[in-house]
């Protein structure tokens, strides 16, 4: 099958002004495993879109293609109207395994993106300190990653991505390595962050509740090779209190609805 890049048939399903657009993305790894097939998606500016799908369906692959870390076998990613050829300053990645440098302090880790850009030490440390405070790690600047808990490490990874002031944040299962209580706290913090930062988030998760709770838009992918099964707009007000949202009828219905859809794939 082929989806021409000139017209975007699925584009209508999402807002056409998506700051990030995937056009006909397919990916076949060396060795012949096809991970993605014909992905057409728009990611609206200032919103959080979640990629949800069974394990191995190509969520990480899609995220890395958007990041410019992997080349698609077919199709293009458009960010701000320009085709992606590699990593760029307008996108930042939060890694599932944190990817912190064990030999560097929290401060240097958070400032690393700026260090790579050649910003002066004084300037980048000032910026890094403010984001370290923002993610709740003030006082830990001189600590090393091995001195931190898993949840704190993930915050360092988040602060590093925020520090480069990218418009688009790509997060690969950022909360999978933390316990349930911490996770809930993180989700609430993330919602605050989205409200205050006005950035576009693309988020991978395994959890349906998490997806509905934090997202404006949930993308369901089919099992490998991953294709877009459905795009659901949650229409939830994320500004309210977390307790309200978690008891909201629409929220609960939507979780159930998505579960029913994903169930088909589990047989």
């Amino acid at each position: 099958m082929s989806i021409s890049g000139a017209t975007d048939p699925v584009e209508t399903a999402t807002k056409p002004d998506g700051i990030v657009q995937a056009r006909g993305i397919s990916k076949t790894y060396d060795g012949g495993i096809q991970a993605l097939e014909g992905i057409d998606l728009g990611f609206p500016k200032g919103e959080l879109t979640t990629l949800l799908g069974p394990s191995g369906c190509g969520k990480t692959t899609l995220l890395k293609i958007i990041a410019g870390l992997l080349e698609p076998s077919a199709g293009t990613i458009i960010v701000n109207g320009r085709a992606v050829t590699g990593p760029g300053p307008e996108r930042a990645f939060v890694f599932q395994d944190f990817a912190l440098m064990p030999w560097a302090s929290v401060l240097r880790n958070v400032a690393f993106g700026l260090e790579l850009r050649g910003m002066s030490r004084h300037e980048r440390h000032a910026i890094a300190r403010s984001y370290i405070a923002k993610v709740g790690l003030a006082g830990f600047e001189e600590r090393y990653p091995h001195e931190l808990s898993g949840g704190m490490r993930q915050r360092v990874g988040l602060a590093r991505a925020l520090a480069v002031d990218a418009e688009v944040l790509l997060m690969d299962e950022p909360f999978s390595a933390v316990d349930e209580q911490t996770r809930r706290k993180f989700q609430e913090d993330l919602l605050h962050l989205i409200q205050s930062e006005n950035k576009t988030f693309i988020f991978v998760t395994h959890s349906i509740e998490e997806a509905v709770y934090v997202s404006d838009q949930v993308v369901l992918l089919t099992p490998r090779p991953g294709a877009v099964s459905r795009v659901i707009r949650t229409g939830l007000d994320h500004g309210g209190s977390p307790e309200e949202l978690r008891r909201n009828k629409r929220y609960l219905d939507m979780v159930e609805e998505i579960w029913q859809m994903l169930r088909e794939y589990l047989v």
């Binding site: 990041a67 990593p87 890694f95 993610v135 709740g136 931190l148 706290k185 913090d189």
Partner: protein
């Protein structure tokens, strides 16, 4: 967000009595030297002096300057050889780790060298390079270089793919990926190779001094054996072993200080 509920992993308290590792280390020295003293007193062989006699000989040889002169001549090929092996070994190993092409051409040489019984090559070196300083330097290099090269190579090749990807994601250039991620990540293994290389270099220089021409420590060992001054002979052996051990362990301290600040404490 708050982090009040997390306490950082503790550092040492205000009181630091002798750490338990230091106590164990001391105990093992006492045990080994005690056993040596005992075996010398039995005696297990007329050619085996006591620990006390060996130390006395060591003291005597240090005072009369023969130890100092021996080290002066042993250290020369050792230092030159280690410097060459260290600099070129790390460069070659890192290059092999970074470039498949370089790996293809260079790796087999060092793999063969590492496996070869190098003592057997020393007569060959003498044949080509004579019995001077060059031959001894080469003996040191042949022993020290392979382990340095192969460790650096493996260290670079196994640098964390996830950190490399992270650096690329934040738009690190190839040079930045190498300088800021690959080399720091590889440095513990590279240094481990360097330490093994230095230990091997000591073997190389002593072998050369025993097999090529007796000079320095090799000369002390050979000479005192020939006149049956066993305490002096053991003193020479003991001093070179201790010297090698101290050199290698100070390098480890230096490495932690310079490259891995996070491992400094605890």
């Amino acid at each position: 967000m708050t982090t009040r509920d997390f306490e950082p992993v503790g550092r040492g308290g205000p009181f630091r009595p002798l750490s338990s590792t230091a106590v164990w280390r001391l105990a093992s020295f006492v045990l080994v030297f005690g056993a040596w003293e005992f075996a010398g007193r039995v005696p297990i062989s007329p050619a085996f002096p006591t620990f006390g006699a060996t130390m006395a000989a060591l003291f005597q040889m240090t005072l009369d300057g023969s130890m100092g002169r021996a080290y002066l001549s042993t250290l020369q090929p050792l230092l030159i050889g280690l410097l060459i092996s260290g600099v070129f070994g790390i460069l070659a190993g890192v290059a092999m780790g970074l470039s498949r092409l370089f790996e293809f051409f260079v790796a087999p040489v060092f793999i063969v060298l590492q496996a070869a019984p190098v003592a057997a090559l020393i007569p060959l070196i003498t044949f080509i390079y004579g019995i001077g300083l060059t031959a001894k330097v080469i003996a040191v290099c042949i022993l020290a270089a392979p382990v340095i090269v192969l460790n650096s190579y493996k260290a670079v090749r196994n640098a964390s793919p996830s950190l490399i990807e992270m650096c690329r994601a934040f738009q690190g250039s190839r040079v930045q990926v190498i300088a800021k991620i690959i080399l720091p990540d590889a440095s513990p293994l590279i240094f481990a190779g360097l330490r093994l290389g230095i230990a091997a270099g000591f073997i190389g220089v002593v072998l050369a001094e025993l097999l090529i021409t007796p000079t320095g420590i090799g000369d002390l060992i050979t000479y005192h054996r020939s006149v049956a001054d066993y305490a002096e002979m053991y003193a020479a052996i003991f001093s070179i072993v201790a010297f090698a051990a101290i050199t290698v362990s100070s390098l480890q301290k230096l490495e932690t200080m310079v490259f891995r600040p996070e491992k400094k404490e605890g």
